[in-house]
Symmetry: C2
């Protein structure tokens, strides 16, 4: 301490740091959901006027980007760094670590999928995953597609889970969520949706982490099978209407 920081700026000393602002934003996010993390709320929490925040971030989107970056930076890389373990165990460890880490701040999940994740921490995470898949013996193309698949599953799964319990505040414990889900689904008319009702009754015995891992294991199995027999993509009728709309122009 007491190390006098060299100050390059000319004006008065800053009252805060970017990190303090992100801390306040994260607290508000955890307490009151995404709506509570407003510029004015953040400013009030750190004790400055609302527009003082614009000294540190150019606009709210930058604050959100910083928040996402901070959260992704907190992911523990050690739990899947051991290259001696089988690759699917390492992927599973990564998936569980990410899930645990992101579920601790459910309000941030919509912010993540709301914009591109291209910050340095996001890229680092992607890089680690690609390295992991390369260790597993996948070629560059398959590794890239497999990482995309895994990322979609991990983030999509958490996003859907958060969406189902979208009240602000921390996620309730898993048992409670399962119970609420059971109640909600069993309220669906079994006459109109017999299989949904049956599925609800069956699924109620499974905690959602187990369900999460089931899907992850199917994906890992599919990737492993692809690795074993790398046949080409079958003849598929690509009917991407999105691309067709502006065809024949230009």
């Amino acid at each position: 301490m007491s190390v006098s920081e060299i100050r390059r700026r000319r004006g008065p000393r800053r009252a805060l740091t970017e990190d303090e602002i992100l801390d306040a934003a994260l607290d508000l996010l955890d307490e009151g959901g995404a709506d509570a993390a407003s510029i004015r709320g953040i400013a009030a929490r750190v004790g400055v006027a609302p527009n003082a925040v614009y000294t540190y971030f150019p606009d709210k989107a930058a604050v959100v980007r910083g928040l996402v970056e901070r959260l992704l930076g907190g992911v523990d890389h050690d739990v899947f760094a051991d290259r001696a373990r089988p690759w699917h165990e390492r992927v599973e460890a990564l998936a569980l670590e990410l899930r645990a880490h992101l579920s601790a701040h459910p309000g941030a999940v919509p912010l993540m999928i709301g914009g591109p994740m291209d910050g340095p921490h996001a890229l680092t995470l992607n890089e680690r995953l690609l390295q992991l898949l390369a260790d597993a013996g996948l070629g560059p193309a398959d590794a890239a597609r497999a990482s995309y698949l895994l990322i979609v599953y991990v983030f999509g799964s958490i996003a859907l889970e958060v969406a189902d319990t979208s009240r602000p505040g921390p996620l309730p414990p898993e048992a409670e969520r399962v119970a609420a889900r059971k109640a909600a689904f069993s309220a669906t008319p079994a006459d109109d949706f017999p299989r949904s009702a049956e599925a609800a009754a069956t699924m109620a015995g499974y905690v959602s982490t187990e369900q999460y891992l089931w899907g992850l294991h199917r994906i890992l199995g599919g990737i492993a099978a692809r690795e074993a027999t790398p046949e080409e993509l079958g003849p598929v009728d690509l009917r991407d209407r999105t691309g067709l709309r502006e065809a024949h122009s230009a």
Copy 2:
């Protein structure tokens, strides 16, 4: 036409219908993104005062729910209804139909994953998918988990894709999106992220629909393998920190 509708309400005739409001909301969504679909904007487009909308919907969330329901209701069920075809082809047809349908309104994707999809059309879709998986020979529990896995993949994949090109308006054609992606990724410093850069270079040759199908095929393969050898879930270290937080209370 000219069928005089019986009017049960006592007051003056309604100037609009719920559908007109949803039409206007969808138009605004397509033109200007999620932000443009405001209550005031919708009201202006249909030519009423902003609060007149509250005659038809109790609040904005209800409008959004109606919008999501309308979009899900527009999914063509015929493309995967043929029970004579192999089940994985039917799932693929469903996935492609959903992708094409939702990509036509990218602004709506954040609205879908922003809240639970529990409307009648959403349940119908889930019901069809469960039926499809039951036709494939999966038991109720596996069918439920497999449908969850597929739904996560389809919606998560579209959501991430939309997030990467989050400017309002319709999605650009696929070739353009791939080019933009290539440019963005190749701008990542190859020194810090060598594998990401390599992946970007490799992936640039693949259109995103192909990538989408690659992941889908891995999932289908994983499900099929599970169907063939239904071994139990392996011994997995469940470390759900979410559930642990409130343990030992109550």
